[in-house]
Symmetry: C2
């Protein structure tokens, strides 16, 4: 159903697609909210900060496809666009992404915002690493 919108032939095309980043922004927030729901044991929600996604993508080999001078906003957009690409091409499901993120998210209701951000960045980094093979080479 969504494949017609993602005819990208390179990682660079995906990472620079602002429309994909907009869809991905919603996907990232939903999956992170569901991951927190799994970890904390009650439904909750969260907007993921750009700094978290920027840290996550900078830790992966995908980052070599970006201009080194990219700011935090552009790095986060690139992460979000990749997530949208993966979901729209049926490479990932929302529940599986939430489950993957939850795996490394060792937080509880008392965890500081800073510590949670650090753990979230590691979770998002590992998730991307596990899915790099699904991106066009």
């Amino acid at each position: 159903m969504w494949a017609p919108f993602v005819k990208h032939s390179s990682i660079e095309q995906i990472m620079n697609d602002k429309g994909l980043a907009k869809v991905g922004d919603n996907l990232v927030n939903l999956c992170y909210s569901l991951a927190k729901t799994l970890v904390l044991g009650y439904t909750t929600g969260e907007k993921v900060r750009d700094s978290v996604l920027a840290r996550a993508i900078r830790g992966t080999s995908v980052y070599q496809h970006m201009n080194r001078r990219s700011d935090i906003g552009k790095a986060a957009d690139a992460y979000e666009a990749i997530v949208a690409y993966l979901w729209m091409t049926d490479k990932i499901t929302i529940s599986a992404m939430a489950d993957s993120l939850a795996g490394l998210l060792e937080i509880d209701s008392k965890t500081s915002r800073e510590k949670e951000g650090m753990l979230a960045a590691i979770s998002f980094q590992r998730f991307l690493e596990q899915n790099i093979a699904h991106l066009p080479q």
Copy 2:
């Protein structure tokens, strides 16, 4: 996978669940972004305003379960919580919700924000009407 988080036995319980509303906020934004993507023919994203969801829920029979003095924020939260309930209990899928919303969303890239909001409210209202039977009675 998500059913353990939605053990609600009444519509009122669902509509007043703030955690469900947080998950639903992300679901609503994602589905609306995907609906716009379908209608406009390119990937795009949008945050749905509370006023749109409040108008949508006020047009349905579900609204009788709310306090009449509820403000726009509470009405929107109730709509979002219902969407989260429907998705987490496997009554709806994200793609089907996007497709349903797109059906009445007669917009193009020149449609005013006001007109789009009016059409979006009608789309969200009809979507809820079609799914009322899935809610606990």
